[in-house]
């Protein structure tokens, strides 16, 4: 390992010995034949193909079905490290829900001058249709994926709050299944907290937010855009694991003031819809009229208390990258506490001074589109060519409102298995959070994404990232 010591490696100390949480695993790893591990890697790939955990790459028809590369070396987090992280996430998620309720009601935070009015009113993610609407159970973000990065032993930063429809949880679950299948002996040596309860918790959590109109046991369904969507596997997987129906827009219609699905016995009402379709597409009558994916009139049923939508429409206003920069204020405003987890310092390019700073220091910064996702339309200054920097300089000057910039963080590394042995690669972490009226549940671990290219900081699966199983140890 000759990685620059500027990066914190989660497995190995600078002297080459394992860090605490990895001690038992490392002991096992040292005795493993590297050849056997590589065989296991190939075995894992075959398993993923058979299971059909594939991923569609937009704009690449030649590779309609691709696997997200899986690395067999787990990422390990100590139980006590995790406790602190969960406290921070819980605080943040509470604040997000309070913020959403406030934004769609009295807007106290704007009145108090903590968030500028134009950040809300002129934001495309703000849905006027949600003004004055309180979702069943008071919950806006039933499912949250809080993206974290680590820079040191006790330094975690929140990179993004995914409050719309965070994806990837099926990988968290399948990665663990695969590891259990391939290395059963390992799990008897190292005590890892289970993740397999997630689908049951999701079902319970969704059912707990059933609407007024629900009679008896809530009927839960997952709404997917269909089999050609990049995350279809996950939609089917979650519906299957929850014992819920997997529906598309054309299976649904509004019948007697309820959203109902066409069954073999006629139309039956749905109580809770876990929709994996963006706000814009859920209702052609209320939003994008060209959408073929949604259900005409579903918003009217929703506003009348006839169905629960998870997540609620309009939550995008809370995970917008421009709003992100206000999160420390938002947390303090609603919880009265300082944020437990750090925010990455963020320059809002809409502000002239910030823009000047960003343009002057472009080569050192990461620039992101405010409304972008999936690592598209992003500039990593230190890794960019002169031409790329020039292109972005022009984009920033033309539309400063569309961008934010952040310092390049020294993201932690975890080794991956390569043909030449272990090699450190940068990682991030997306824990999955379930919010219901009576509790917030955070599955121990989450999805670790890893930038497979040496030195790369981009972990998105659409940009050559892979995944690892994430272990939180029992205390």
């Amino acid at each position: 390992m000759n990685e620059s010591p500027a990066y914190f490696d989660e497995m190995l100390q600078p002297d080459g010995g394992p860090r605490g949480p990895y001690a038992q695993y490392y002991d096992w790893l040292r005795k493993e034949e590297p050849g056997r591990l590589l065989e296991k890697s190939a075995e894992a790939e075959a398993l993923f193909r058979l299971t059909g955990i594939t991923f569609n790459v937009y704009g690449d028809p030649s590779e309609a079905e691709r696997l997200i590369p899986f690395d067999v070396i787990p990422r390990i987090i100590a139980g006590r490290e995790w406790v602190k992280v969960t406290k921070g996430i819980e605080q943040r998620v509470r604040a997000l829900n309070a913020f959403l309720h406030d934004i769609y009601h009295r807007q106290e935070i704007v009145r108090a001058g903590r968030v500028p009015a134009h950040m809300i009113a002129r934001n495309a993610a703000f849905l006027p249709q949600m003004i004055g609407v309180t979702p069943p159970g008071g919950i806006y973000t039933h499912i949250v994926g809080t993206d974290l990065v680590r820079t040191g032993p006790d330094e975690f930063f929140v990179l993004e709050d995914n409050a719309r429809t965070p994806s990837g949880v099926s990988y968290m679950l399948e990665n663990r299944e695969t590891m259990l299948h391939m290395f059963p002996e390992l799990f008897s040596k190292v005590k890892v907290q289970s993740v397999s309860q997630y689908p049951r918790s999701l079902r319970r959590s969704l059912s707990a937010c059933a609407p007024q109109a629900c009679e008896g046991r809530p009927t839960v369904a997952v709404l997917t855009p269909g089999i050609y969507n990049s995350a279809y596997y996950e939609h089917a997987f979650l519906a299957d694991q929850m014992g819920a129906e997997l529906v598309e827009g054309h299976d649904l219609r509004v019948v007697n003031g309820r959203v109902a699905m066409r069954t073999t016995e006629g139309y039956k009402p749905i109580d809770v819809l876990y929709r994996r379709i963006d706000d814009d597409y859920i209702d052609p009558l209320n939003f994008n009229p060209d959408s073929m994916l949604g259900v005409p009139g579903i918003m009217d049923v929703y506003r009348a208390g006839g169905i629960t939508l998870a997540n609620a429409p309009g939550t995008g206003i809370a995970d917008d990258k421009a709003i992100y920069s206000y999160m420390p204020e938002i947390i303090e405003f609603y919880t009265g506490e300082k944020a437990i987890l750090n925010n990455v310092p963020t320059h809002r390019c809409s502000e002239p001074e910030a823009l000047k700073y960003v343009l002057d220091n472009l080569a050192d910064l990461v620039v992101k589109e405010v409304h972008g996702s999936g690592g598209y339309g992003m500039l990593v200054g230190p890794a960019a060519s002169k031409a790329e920097l020039a292109t972005f300089r022009a984009k920033l000057a033309a539309n400063p409102d569309h961008y934010i910039a952040q310092p390049t963080l020294a993201l932690s590394t975890v080794p991956i298995l390569t043909d030449a042995g272990l090699a450190p690669r940068h990682v991030d972490l997306r824990p999955y959070v379930l919010v219901s009226p009576d509790r917030i549940e955070i599955t121990p671990g989450g999805l670790t994404r890893v930038a497979l290219t040496e030195g790369s900081l981009v972990v998105n699966s659409s940009q050559g990232g892979g995944t690892k199983d994430t272990w939180v140890l029992e205390e």
């Binding site: 059909g52 089917a236 299957d240 066409r262 073999t264």
Partner: protein
């Protein structure tokens, strides 16, 4: 369950059954072309007719040679009914109804797709053909095995089974329809080599050669072949057997849902015909007419099931 899911299961198992039947028909044609090259062209012609794909084929080719027909039926990209295409359609339906399948059934159909996609990616040489035909039948059997071994006996299973038997009966009837004339006593030339070969194709295409011989002491006569393939309830590819199963499975749906639909009456009417007609009565009525009536009723039943169980809006 969703109407769409019921339809997806029905079609998934129809497609899988079809892939298997096509492989059987090619196998039968291959056998003839190897043993009697003079009969080969008419044999490939009738096989294409039995698959119902001759119109598309004639847009591609003007002659009926074994290589062309085999390539067209197995892997031609312009043929929506090729084994490659129907296996892909089956797998797409499986993805659509993933939540209704056990992991074992899904993995069996996904592996069927992956293995056959590779196997059919390039033209098939004569040497590989028998192995690949066997592989097609075997992969379909794996899915069926997973279905039997792991699925709950509920409505989902019923729709899967109805699709299977619907396609199978259709296939047997179409083979009989294409070949009916050689089974007619009036044009029969007993003992001529051509006739033996022709009968053998029919039995081979329905995997019934050995069963027929066992039950008929090696005696081959056209009327008993017709009887065997239409009326014998012991043969899993006979019309009577398949329709008995369709009626059973529709009956379970009727019990589970507590609703009798028009499709139940339609199926009962078709079944009744197999119970009341004996083979002499069928020949008196006209074999071709009997099979044509059956194919017409069967198509109507398919549409009625689709309506009654709301496969589509």
């Amino acid at each position: 369950m969703l109407g769409k899911t019921a339809g997806g299961l029905f079609w998934m198992f129809r497609y899988l059954e079809r892939s298997e039947n096509t492989a059987r028909m090619i196998d039968a044609g291959l056998r003839i072309s190897l043993t009697r090259s003079s009969a080969a062209e008419s044999e490939w012609t009738s096989i294409l007719h039995a698959t119902g794909l001759q119109a598309g084929y004639l847009q591609r080719y003007s002659t009926y040679t074994g290589d062309q027909v085999i390539d067209y039926l197995l892997r031609d990209e312009t043929n929506p009914g090729s084994v490659r295409a129907v296996v892909e359609a089956a797998r797409n339906d499986a993805r659509l109804v993933r939540t209704a399948l056990t992991r074992e059934v899904w993995e069996a159909v996904n592996e069927c797709y992956m293995v056959l996609k590779d196997a059919l990616a390039h033209p098939i040489s004569d040497r590989d053909l028998p192995r690949i035909l066997q592989m097609i039948r075997q992969r379909s059997a794996f899915v069926r095995g997973a279905l039997h071994g792991t699925m709950l006996r509920n409505e989902m299973y019923d729709f899967a089974r109805i699709g299977t038997f619907f396609e199978r009966a259709d296939n047997t009837a179409r083979i009989l329809d294409v070949k009916y004339y050689i089974l007619l006593p009036s044009v029969m030339h007993v003992g001529t080599p051509t006739d033996n070969v022709q009968w053998e194709t029919i039995l081979r295409a329905t995997s019934a050669v050995r069963a027929y011989q066992t039950l008929h002491d090696g005696e081959v006569d056209p009327k008993s072949i017709a009887k065997f393939l239409m009326l014998d309830r012991r043969l899993p590819r006979s019309l009577a057997f398949c329709y008995g199963k369709i009626q059973d499975n529709l009956g379970y749906l009727e019990t589970d849902y507590g609703v009798r639909h028009p499709c139940h009456d339609l199926a009962a009417r078709i079944c009744k015909r197999f119970a009341t007609y004996d083979v002499d009565a069928i020949f008196d009525y006209g074999l071709h007419e009997f099979i044509s009536d059956f194919l017409k009723d069967s198509a109507a039943l398919g549409q009625q099931i689709e309506i009654d169980y709301r496969f589509i809006e």
